[in-house]
């Protein structure tokens, strides 16, 4: 970044200075790829069972549902907001699907209900945040209790089961050989979200809002409307995740998906999305999802308790963010 406007430049301003390769090599995504590959290799050596197509396929279930939500959450966090109620939305959507299943609603209807409830919950969050101008972190801490609370009121100590047989496909079915429906859906959604965030004017506006909401508003970006849409999207993805997880478990309890919100946010932050908004990429989030799947599954194969895995994830989270800062600081001191 040695270029400044003090040096006289020709009247013609180039589009960009050539450095795509260099920046790609030193990017966050490259760091994550390196971490993912390293974990993959370590896993292959540590457990003889790891390199097996079915193992690798089962591994994906550890992250697909959370990953789907993380895609939308990434957009929301890039825009400078956050949604802590996603897991509670899953609980409520799943509960209402269960209710519907009890009265004989069939698979397509159940899917619609799950997604619809998710969307409605997202819209409720969005309305409170953008309509009343409340801080999203507090609003969604509130709705987190509210949504799951409603699920508890409806279901109490009961569980819904007896979903139609065809409903099992979403969480347990395979599209082709070892490729599960969940994985395929995640892959498809990742491509869609990548396209939306990085290739459309909507995505551009999300970045603008995250970097400077006021300037974005003064540039004609409808900040409130876009944030509202992002809350709806996050709700929608939570609804989809609710369909998948309900189908995978074949039953519903109000305590379903407890604690998912923090895992989803961890995934997003690990993926290089700035918690302060304005920066991030879908590729990073997908890689982070993969890393979390690899770590949890790999350590699971070694029968390491889950809690130890979470230490690893926690350390990874802080280190991956701290390292570039330390690197930068150390580098600068050496130069000075």
């Amino acid at each position: 970044m040695s270029a400044t406007d003090t040096t006289p430049t020709p009247r013609r301003i180039p589009d960009r200075l050539d450095k795509p390769l260099r920046s790609a090599i030193f990017s966050w995504e490259a760091l994550l790829v390196a971490v993912a590959v390293a974990i993959f290799i370590v896993n292959s050596f540590a457990s003889p069972y790891f390199l097996d197509v079915w193992s690798l396929s089962d591994l994906t279930f550890n992250f697909t549902e959370k990953g789907l939500i993380a895609l939308a959450m990434a957009l929301l966090i890039i825009s400078g907001e956050i949604d802590l109620s996603v897991a509670a939305i899953i609980a409520l959507a799943s509960t209402l699907m269960g209710m519907a299943a009890q009265v004989g609603v069939d698979t397509p209807g159940l899917v619609l209900i799950g997604i619809g409830v998710g969307l409605a919950c997202g819209a409720f969050n969005g309305l409170l945040v953008t309509g009343l101008g409340l801080p999203s972190i507090v609003v969604t801490i509130g709705t987190m209790s509210l949504f799951r609370g409603i699920a508890f009121i409806i279901l109490g100590d009961q569980a819904y089961k007896g979903y139609p047989a065809s409903f099992a496909f979403f969480g347990q079915g395979y599209v082709w050989w070892v490729v599960s429906f969940e994985l395929a859906l995640f892959g498809f959604a990742a491509v869609v979200y990548w396209f939306v965030l990085h290739r459309t004017s909507f995505g551009r506006r999300i970045f603008a809002i995250g970097n400077n909401p006021v300037a974005a508003q003064f540039s004609g970006v409808r900040v409130g409307r876009i944030k509202f849409i992002l809350f709806c999207l996050t709700g929608l993805m939570s609804g989809i995740a609710a369909v998948l997880i309900t189908s995978r478990l074949g039953s519903t309890r109000p305590s379903i998906a407890q604690g998912y919100e923090l895992e989803v946010i961890t995934m997003v932050v690990l993926g290089g999305v700035s918690i302060l908004g304005g920066a991030g990429s879908i590729l990073g989030v997908v890689l982070a999802a993969l890393i979390m799947g690899l770590v949890t599954f790999g350590l699971g194969l070694l029968n390491v308790p889950g809690i130890v895995m979470s230490i690893f994830i926690g350390l990874l989270l802080i280190m991956v963010i701290a390292l570039p800062i330390l690197w930068d600081r150390f580098g600068r001191r050496r130069l000075a």
Binding site: D52, A159, L249, G250, S251, G259, G300
Partner: protein, 307 residues
């Protein structure tokens, strides 16, 4: 090549399951060719347990013996395990029949239901109000016991009046709040029945703290080592439990027999379990291990050293 049997528990760190693991290791030694993998999530949720099951499937274990956090949610994952040729049984807290080959009840459900009420009734010759403090509202075994207890009440204990059932989620803070709530709402409460090792400790501590020793009797299912203090101080007269060591032993023994000796688990089948004896499967392919054993002042000292 050793036979790998996974003993999957509701959550790690629970004294009850640690004792079961002790029994499992004993069974492994006795059977000779068995390697026991003692595992489970740290959080007692079905989702976490499914991840554990998936990892076990990938390790191609020969058998899984699971104490489930949720009777239904684990079914798909365990079905997948069975499809991949793994023997699956549940023990302690059961799985719905389609998710396992057999279920080993620690004891007869009706017998447990009756016993927990009896423990309260024995010390209430005049009768009175009692309440139940259970674990999580989704815990299969607890729900079955409570059901059985309610059935036994009118016929066998007409003077006992069950006023409430509350849930402490096997969380000591929540159980404490619930126990306090019970004492407040029902000033005439004579006994709290907690058929869960976490809840029973919380309830006994509350009774101790509120100076209600002698007025309210805490009873239920408790590990002697964890509960000795409250028998000693009088907060509780007696509690019951089966032997978790035997339970772990039996689970591994049965899993081994089904996996290696290819015994078939079908209604009416009689399956031997080494030193513990023999069980007979009922028409849901489940079987009780033994009658619950009662601990009181006379024997708690001795058993608290064992488990």
């Amino acid at each position: 090549e050793n036979v790998k049997i996974a003993l999957v528990v509701k959550s790690l760190g629970n004294g009850f399951f640690d004792a079961a693991n002790k029994g499992a290791q004993e069974a492994a030694k006795e059977l000779g060719d068995v390697e026991v993998i003692y595992t489970g999530p740290t959080k007692a949720t079905a989702e976490a347990q499914i991840e554990v099951v998936n990892a076990l499937i990938a390790q191609k274990v020969n058998a899984i013996a699971i104490s489930a956090n949720d009777a239904d949610a684990l079914v798909p994952a365990l079905k997948k395990a069975m499809e991949r040729g793994i023997t699956v049984i549940s023990w302690d807290s059961g799985v719905a029949p389609e998710g396992r080959q057999m279920h080993l009840n620690p004891s007869d459900t009706n017998l447990i239901g009756e016993t927990i009420v009896k423990l309260a009734a024995d010390y209430l010759p005049e009768g009175g109000d009692v309440a139940i403090l259970s674990a999580s509202s989704t815990a299969t075994n607890q729900n079955a016991w409570i059901e059985a207890a309610k059935k036994a009440l009118p016929e066998k204990f007409p003077k006992i009046n069950l006023v409430a059932t509350v849930y402490g989620d096997d969380d000591s803070a929540k159980s404490t709040d619930e126990a306090k709530g019970l004492l407040k709402s029902y000033p005439n409460l004579k006994a709290i029945i907690a058929p869960t090792t976490v809840g029973v400790v919380a309830a006994a501590q509350v009774v101790t703290d509120e100076n209600l020793i002698g007025k309210v009797n805490v009873t239920g299912l408790a590990l002697p080592s964890e509960f000795k203090k409250f028998i000693d101080n009088g907060a509780s007269q007696a509690v019951a439990l089966w032997n978790p060591i035997d339970l772990g032993y039996s689970a591994v023994y049965l899993a081994h027999d089904l996996a290696v000796k290819k015994m078939e688990a079908k209604p009416g089948a009689k399956l031997p379990i080494g030193r513990v004896g023999e069980v007979t499967l009922d028409d849901t392919n489940s079987a009780p291990m033994a009658a619950p054993f009662t601990f009181d002042k006379t024997n708690i000292e001795e058993f608290s050293k064992i488990y």
